[in-house]
């Protein structure tokens, strides 16, 4: 039980990363591959946040005087993930726009069929 207590966040984060990786490796539909990449990205963000966590820690904001600095979680991973989420949305939109163009060009989103076709 203590094992779960210690590592549950790592297990969750890497679970998401592996689910995403499995989708990317196995599925043939391009939309599903993009969804898999998105799930992987969520897992990476969760992993970064959980690395910075401190047992019983508070958010690193001095909003009231009674918050003590010693119990704050690490702000650096949070700052990285904050920007990574918004960039992830933009990159996801870019990937979807490429999928739209591919569909218009080939008439299919199946990656195997796209590889077979030579214009």
């Amino acid at each position: 039980m203590s094992f779960l207590n210690h590592y549950i966040y790592y297990i969750g984060a890497f679970g998401l990363i592996f689910i995403g990786l499995y989708i990317v490796l196995v599925k043939h539909n391009l939309i599903k591959v993009i969804i898999g990449l998105s799930i992987m990205e969520t897992g990476v963000n969760l992993f970064l946040i959980s690395i910075g966590y401190i047992k019983g820690g508070t958010a690193p904001i001095f909003s009231t005087p009674e918050i003590e600095a010693a119990r704050m979680v690490d702000p650096v991973p949070q700052a990285l993930v904050l920007t990574a989420i918004v960039i992830g949305v933009a990159v996801l939109a870019l990937a979807l726009s490429l999928a739209i163009r591919l569909y218009q060009h080939y008439g299919t989103l199946n990656l195997r069929k796209i590889k077979e076709q030579r214009w």
Partner: protein, 228 residues
């Protein structure tokens, strides 16, 4: 066959990661730099939200790079979608029902106000330019879904985006001219926990909020135009 191979591959990767992660204890302080930011952040930057002081003061140059990545993604999306787009005959858009139309017109300014609140108070409360920008963009999603005949002007969003980037760089260059390094916090830091404090941090976060909001709204506009 493909499935079995990929599951085997994932198993090998999982084994390696477990062996290395088992040595990293969960829930203990790991970086010295994070501790430094917490101890000295308020005193050095004037922002009570330490995450904000990391994003737009200590690592502001890095944030400029991230904003540029966002800009390039938006430009790339526009370039991919607009090349080869033929002029389609104007399709009649079915207007939304009265309840939906009135509801989204009522909510639109309130959501914009909330987004602006989030990015103006980025140095005091949880939030900031990126989150506030995402909320502003969600207001535009609402108008596209609810009042479908309305469109944001493409020139307006491009203008807001470019002005945002320009002001960010100009503030950085003024810091270079005044104090000797790029993006120096040259304004007075004020008293912590007041709205007008923390020097250039609120300015940069407002600029980032406007830029992110207009970029995400532009992305949505491009994608919706494509679907029609």
């Amino acid at each position: 066959m493909r499935r079995i191979i990929s599951i085997l591959l994932l198993g090998i990767i999982a084994l390696g990661i477990t062996l290395s992660l088992a040595k990293i204890p969960f829930g203990t302080p790991k970086t010295k730099v994070g501790r430094y930011y917490i101890d000295k952040g308020v005193e050095e930057t004037g922002a009570t939200n330490i995450v904000t002081s990391v994003v737009v003061n200590y690592r502001a140059f890095d944030t400029l790079g991230e904003v540029t990545v966002l800009f390039i993604a938006a430009i790339g999306l526009g370039a991919v979608l607009t090349t080869g787009r033929r002029k389609k005959p104007e399709r009649k858009i079915e207007p939304a029902s009265l309840v939906l139309y009135t509801g989204c017109r009522f909510l639109f300014p309130l959501i914009l106000l909330f987004g602006a609140y989030i990015f103006v108070h980025g140095h005091l409360t949880p939030g900031g330019g990126f989150q506030g920008g995402a909320i502003v963009a969600s207001a535009f999603v609402l108008t596209y879904l609810g009042c479908r005949e309305r469109r944001i002007s493409e020139r307006g969003s491009k203008l807001a985006e470019s002005l945002g980037g320009l002001i960010f760089v100009i503030v950085g260059l003024v810091g270079l001219a005044v104090g000797g390094y790029f993006l120096m916090n040259f304004l007075p830091k004020g008293i912590p926990n007041f709205l007008f404090s923390a020097g250039i941090i609120p300015i940069l976060y407002i600029v980032i909020g406007v830029k992110v909001g207009s970029e995400l709204a532009g992305i949505i506009d491009n994608l919706i135009e494509e679907s029609e």
